[in-house]
């Protein structure tokens, strides 16, 4: 009964890896964020003097104070420093193929927490894949962090895409598990992942409350949710 559902899950995970690898050669919205992330990671890993760092100056001009508590860039810099490869190699080329298969798993867990039906969750994954493929993107430098397209599914190389594509479904999955079971361990996991979400892409602590909002402001997630309601 559940075997076809898990075959679909495995197939979608493989497709996400393939599409993520292929999309890795294109640069949609968020291109500029990748250059900033690479620059900051290189800065942390190699201790470049701050006054020579363009992205650092951009951060100061725009008062991006959350860079001071950005744990993820620090982790990536540690990885670059200990591994001896360049931040470009890691962020532009390696991160997406390494982690993109977790995105459908996160959506599967989220749908399963809501419905407790494995076949429905697997069908929701198929919808995620099709909708993600048919959702258009803004071109790089065009409008809008509030209108996310394919990068909300297949791209994991900026702080924003990490938070939208991966950490947000994980946080909502933990949150729905907490609502369902009301266990203290679920509360701890929810608090932990919400804090991580706030630390990765947040203009300030308000991102804790922006989680659900940014989920529905994504074209992909909003259309998925509507279809999901019809389906269930």
């Amino acid at each position: 009964m559940t075997l076809p559902a898990y075959m679909l899950l495995a197939g979608v995970c493989l497709l996400f890896i393939g599409i993520g690898w292929e999309r890795n050669h294109l640069r949609f919205d968020g291109y500029e964020d990748q250059t900033l992330l690479v620059s900051l990671t290189d800065w942390w890993a190699n201790k470049v003097p701050p006054e020579n760092l363009v992205s650092r100056n951009i951060g100061e001009v725009n008062a991006l104070t959350y860079w001071s508590t950005d744990g993820m860039t620090y982790v990536l810099a540690t990885w670059v420093w200990s591994g001896g490869f360049s931040a470009v190699q890691l962020i532009w080329y390696a991160l997406t193929p390494l982690f993109v298969w977790l995105v459908p798993l996160a959506h599967f867990a989220l749908a399963l927490q809501v419905t407790k039906r494995e076949d429905t969750a697997a069908a929701a994954l198929g919808m995620t894949l099709i909708l993600a493929l048919t959702t258009s993107n803004s071109i790089s430098g065009g409008s809008g962090s509030l209108a996310l397209g394919q990068e909300a599914a297949f791209q994991l190389n900026t702080l924003r895409t990490f938070s939208n594509a991966l950490i947000l479904p994980l946080a909502l999955s933990a949150f729905f598990a907490l609502l369902r079971t009301q266990e203290r361990r679920c509360l701890v996991a929810t608090a932990l992942i919400l804090l991580a979400l706030a630390l990765v892409h947040p203009p300030a602590p308000t991102s804790m409350f922006r989680g659900v909002f940014s989920f529905f402001s994504s074209r992909l997630h909003a259309s998925l949710f509507i279809l999901f309601c019809f389906y269930t």
Binding site: P50, A109, E118, S173, A189, L192, I193, A196, L199
Partner: protein, 40 residues
């Protein structure tokens, strides 16, 4: 949290959730405590 009834995929997601959370939060703590203020 790790119910035995949960399928393997969901258990994997729980591990990913907690692992990612611990990694990012500890990265932020390390950055705030280990780095000299002039590099913040």
């Amino acid at each position: 949290m790790l119910h035995t009834a949960d399928p393997l995929a969901v258990r994997l997601i729980w591990i990913a959730t907690c692992g990612l959370g611990v990694t990012i939060v500890s990265g932020a703590v390390a950055r705030l405590t280990l780095v000299p203020p002039r590099y913040m």
